[in-house]
């Protein structure tokens, strides 16, 4: 009882939207710093002979007025897109480190604009973590802009709602699939050369009960994520801890390292929503 009261008090910290903005911004900033450095490490893929050559990609996008075409050519060509990546890195690092209101406002709005730009430019190769990061950046931008004008914003609640939508969609779709309910899908994913790991495939091979148990844990966890808001303090903490553990496991087994940061950046907003409901 005492522990639960202490936990309630600790979660009270997330009742302050400014705290939540800061926590979410730091997590998003770290995740985007890693993501952007990864893009910079393989920047040759953005030029001719790479997987995202603008010389080819430009043929598949609609024509725009001449002025816009010139801007797009400058920004999306090989030198321009690398410059945008450097700008994105600066915005991400500023967001992770800075505390001044004006600086974080500029950084988060710039980061949101750049993330949307990159989702246009990189037609292939965007993962769900990248999309979630865009949504977090949009929610944080809305909050930061409104805070500047000292008016209320739904930005942080938008982030929480989006996290619930992403988890619930994934869980419901898996529940509807016999391959997931019977544990077959998990074995397939672990066995992939691209996304699996030989040791994980060996571990799951021939262990149907383990596969079924893990599959159901993932499905139930994802479907019930939105319901965490209704649980008492230990419940919501347990759900978020399980979520974090799940993303860490996918980082280890599947190499999806940035999912951890992208989804963790939504958790402070989930806790803000929880405190609003349990006030």
């Amino acid at each position: 009882m005492i522990a639960a009261t202490g936990l309630d008090a600790s979660l009270g910290w997330f009742g302050d939207p400014d705290h939540v903005f800061r926590a979410s911004a730091v997590l998003l900033g770290i995740g985007q710093t890693i993501t952007t450095l990864e893009h910079l490490a393989v920047r040759q893929e953005l030029g001719p002979g790479g997987l995202h050559p603008w010389t080819v990609m430009r043929c598949s996008v609609p024509r725009r007025p001449a002025v816009l075409e010139r801007v797009r050519e400058t920004l999306f060509g090989a030198p321009g897109i690398v410059a945008l990546l450097v700008l994105r890195l600066l915005a991400a690092m500023t967001l992770a480190l800075a505390t001044a209101e004006a600086l974080t406002l500029v950084a988060v709005v710039m980061l949101a604009a750049l993330l949307v730009t990159f989702s246009v430019r990189l037609r292939w190769g965007q993962e769900a973590a990248d999309d979630i990061s865009v949504q977090v950046a949009l929610g944080l931008s809305a909050f930061a802009v409104c805070r500047w004008f000292d008016v209320p914003s739904i930005g942080l609640y938008y982030i929480a709602a989006f996290a619930a939508l992403a988890y619930a969609t994934s869980g419901v779709t898996k529940l509807g699939s016999p391959l997931w309910r019977e544990g077959v899908a998990l074995g397939w994913v672990a066995n992939l050369r691209s996304l699996g790991a030989p040791w994980a495939a060996d571990l799951l091979w021939g262990r149907r009960r383990l596969r079924v148990a893990l599959s159901w844990a993932v499905m139930v966890g994802e479907v019930c994520f939105p319901l965490a808001l209704l649980l008492p303090a230990p419940g919501v903490v347990a759900v978020l801890a399980a979520g974090l553990l799940f993303h860490l496991a996918t980082a280890v087994v599947m190499g999806l390292n940035t999912f951890v940061w992208a989804f963790a950046a939504t958790y402070p907003a989930v806790l803000l929503s929880w405190t609003a409901l349990h006030r």
């Binding site: 890693i34 450095l37 990864e38 490490a41 001719p48 002979g49 790479g50 997987l51 995202h52 050559p53 080819v56 990609m57 043929c59 949307v116 246009v120 990189l122 292939w124 190769g125 993962e127 769900a128 999309d131 949504q135 929610g139 802009v145 409104c146 004008f149 000292d150 008016v151 914003s153 739904i154 930005g155 938008y158 989006f162 939508l165 992403a166 988890y167 969609t169 994934s170 779709t173 509807g176 699939s177 391959l179 899908a185 397939w188 994913v189 066995n191 992939l192 050369r193 691209s194 996304l195 699996g196 790991a197 030989p198 495939a201 980082a251 280890v252 087994v253 190499g255 999806l256 390292n257």
Partner: protein, 179 residues
């Protein structure tokens, strides 16, 4: 001014959320029919309902001066799993686009089966042609083609299956290639 900012940002986020919610309800066939104009929309199905069981590999085959084909070799995209990838995984940025690119190419190949020249003008084809063209080549190699090969992960008993085979393209020594 502040009230207007609050109202506009709120309306924008609510609209985006409603559109995203609606987008989750589209089934696979519907998604294939209509591509979202708003690139912020995406389905969060994450390996559901049917996850990929196989890996798609990009394979090149060089041709000598006399036109004789050489053995196929894979364009290495997928790195071995390493613990450090939990924090830092730049190679992921190389293999993430490969599967959707290859899937789009195979789909285009099936749809334009009777028009091979049209396939060669699709974006995935041109991108992959550039990728294989940038791969190093021996001095006596004059032409190159690429294949999309499907393999069932680590299952040794399943033999690879060729899903797509490109035309043979003359290899320019400046690393660019022309048909």
């Amino acid at each position: 001014m502040g009230t207007a900012v609050s109202a506009i940002t709120s309306a924008g986020l609510v609209a985006l959320f409603v559109l995203s919610l609606r987008y989750q309800l589209h089934d696979r066939a519907e998604l294939a029919r209509r591509t979202s104009r708003l690139l912020l929309l995406r389905q969060y199905r994450l390996f559901a309902p049917i996850p990929g069981r196989s890996d798609l590999h990009l394979v090149v085959r060089d041709h000598d001066v006399d036109g004789a084909p050489r053995p196929c070799r894979e364009v290495s995209m997928v790195p071995l799993r390493h613990w450090s990838q939990v924090l830092w995984n730049p190679q992921k940025r190389r293999w993430l686009p490969v599967r959707p690119l290859l899937v789009d190419l195979v789909r285009a190949g099936a749809a334009l089966e009777d028009r091979p020249v049209a396939i060669e003008l699709t974006t995935p084809y041109l991108v992959l042609l550039g990728v294989v063209g940038a791969e190093p080549a021996d001095e006596d190699v004059r032409a190159r083609q690429f294949l999309v090969v499907e393999r069932y992960g680590h299952e040794p008993e399943e033999s690879p299956r060729v899903l797509f085979c490109s035309a043979v393209h003359r290899l320019e020594r400046t690393t660019a290639m022309a048909t």
